[in-house]
């Protein structure tokens, strides 16, 4: 395990349960993220992955369980306070402010850390050079994939300590997925811990120090990414043909 000396968890989740419309979506779920790790959560649709990330981001209240971030309990805090502490959730799909320019969208991400604006912009333009020439355009006229880049970039702009990405690759071309995964090392060096959730996650699992398989609201496997990749059950249910 890397960072053995620095093994106080950045995020610790214990016995989390969430009920949505009388249905238990998360059951007694526990997981841990150490600082600077890449942590993957894999599961088919309906497994409760999005609900889990929403609960961690303060957007969905659990009915039971505890969440500690940087050693402090946070399960009752509002979403904006989570962001202020560095726990940032990037939702799936394209969620831009369409009338605002790309730059303004990115500035919204940096609202609480305005001093980091320049560093953040440099970083996201390195990862997504396509955005550089489009900073002054309204985000709503970009293509779907480019809006997805803005959504991810806005999350990066908020100087996250823990960045939670929901299905980050959906709608991105294979080449862009490759480039985005190549940026993980950079992000880690900048002190970012990544919690990435999705279905087609081969590339993430290749590099993930910790990987969880989520099924029907529970964690059914925990190990390293490469270890999970080899799990026959996972191959059966998830990996691409």
């Amino acid at each position: 395990m890397p960072d053995a000396a620095n093994s106080t968890p950045l995020l610790e989740v214990r016995h989390l349960s969430v009920i949505l419309q009388k249905k238990r979506v998360l059951r007694d779920l526990s997981l841990t993220c150490l600082p600077h790790q890449i942590v993957a959560i894999v599961g088919i649709e309906g497994a409760g992955k999005t609900t889990l990330l929403k609960a961690l981001g303060g957007l969905q209240r659990p009915v039971a369980g505890r969440i500690w971030f940087a050693g402090e309990p946070v399960e009752t805090l509002p979403a904006w306070e989570m962001v202020r502490r560095g726990l940032v959730y990037v939702p799936e799909g394209m969620r831009v402010f369409p009338e605002m320019t790309v730059l303004e969208n990115l500035e919204v991400g940096a609202y609480l850390v305005r001093r980091e604006l320049k560093t953040g912009l440099d970083r996201v333009c390195r990862i997504f050079p396509e955005l550089q020439d489009r900073l002054r355009r309204p985000a709503g006229i970009l293509s779907g994939g480019q809006q997805r880049m803005v959504t991810l970039a806005r999350g990066l702009m908020s100087a996250p300590r823990l960045l939670m990405l929901d299905e980050p690759f959906m709608g991105l071309s294979p080449k862009l997925v490759q480039r985005f995964c190549d940026s993980f090392r950079d992000l880690r060096q900048a002190g970012v811990t990544l919690l990435i959730s999705g279905q087609l996650m081969q590339r993430v699992l290749n590099v993930a120090e910790k990987a969880y398989l989520q099924e029907r609201g529970r964690i059914t496997f925990a190990g390293t990414g490469p270890h999970l990749l080899q799990d026959p059950h996972l191959q059966e249910i998830i990996l691409p043909v």
Partner: protein, 255 residues
């Protein structure tokens, strides 16, 4: 092979489109035979969705024309095209969030068909379309409560409920599991056997390989290559613009 059926279902002729100072499509032309499945690939921002919007009447081209089933439809609005047999889905599903899955599909089966079916018949057909996409047991769930991938299936069912001749699918499989992609591919091939013509774009190569007779690669508003999936995947321009040089080592779709 379906591609050899020569009657063109769709002809796209020298389409040009710009937004402000940005040229999105430069003289794009291609045709699609009756019963053919054509896949459109290309990097983000290549113009794929704009092309879909123009074909389905959501946007007008600056010049060029679209011919659907022998009639020029370039200036037709989407609802008229819908009644003429052209249906589509969107990259971000455009469903009615506060209606149930069944009610959403009913919109296709009842409102979009001429002559209008009696409501009980339309309901029956809507149910059948939900069954086809594997969502019959979620028919009473509100569309907004469904996971994104299931919202895409609701939209697909709604499109099918209009009984289209040509169906346009814009990244329908984004967020699908392996099993769901396999089911979708089998379903699309079955629909084609019943005469449906399909134009689809997706970053999930496994789906395109499984269903497409032919692929078109679009980059910066131009068609840079076309051919069967197996040959296009090795085309140098396609690799450099779209797939990335390490794709071979990680083949298997969006991640």
């Amino acid at each position: 092979m379906a591609a050899s059926k020569s009657q063109a279902c769709l002809e796209v002729r020298q389409i040009k489109k710009s937004f402000r100072d940005q040229t999105v499509l430069r003289e794009v032309s291609f045709s699609l035979g009756e019963g053919e499945i054509l896949g459109l690939i290309g990097p983000n921002g290549a113009g794929k969705t704009t092309l879909f919007n123009i074909i389905s009447g959501w946007q007008r081209p600056d010049s060029g024309s679209v011919v659907f089933c022998g009639r020029e439809t370039t200036a037709w609005p989407p609802d008229r095209l819908g009644r003429a047999g052209l249906a589509r889905t969107f990259q971000s599903p455009q469903i009615f969030p506060d209606m149930s899955a069944l009610e959403n599909v009913l919109m296709g089966a009842w409102l979009r068909r001429e002559p209008r079916l009696p409501l009980p018949r339309a309901l029956e057909e809507a149910g059948h379309c939900l069954f086809l996409v594997g969502l019959l047991d979620r028919r009473h769930a509100l569309a907004r409560d469904l996971p994104l991938a299931q919202q895409r299936l609701v939209e697909l069912a709604r499109a099918l409920a209009t009984r289209p001749r040509l169906l346009l699918l814009d990244e329908i499989a984004a967020g699908f599991s392996r099993a769901a992609v396999q089911r979708l591919a089998a379903g699309l091939l079955k629909l084609r056997d019943r005469g449906l013509t399909l134009l689809l774009t997706d970053h999930l190569f496994t789906l395109l390989e499984a269903v497409a007779d032919r692929l078109l690669a679009l980059d910066r508003g131009e068609i840079i290559a076309q051919g069967p999936p197996a040959s296009l995947i090795r085309h140098p321009e396609v690799v450099s613009a779209y797939l990335g040089t390490r794709y071979g080592a990680n083949a298997g779709g969006g991640a």
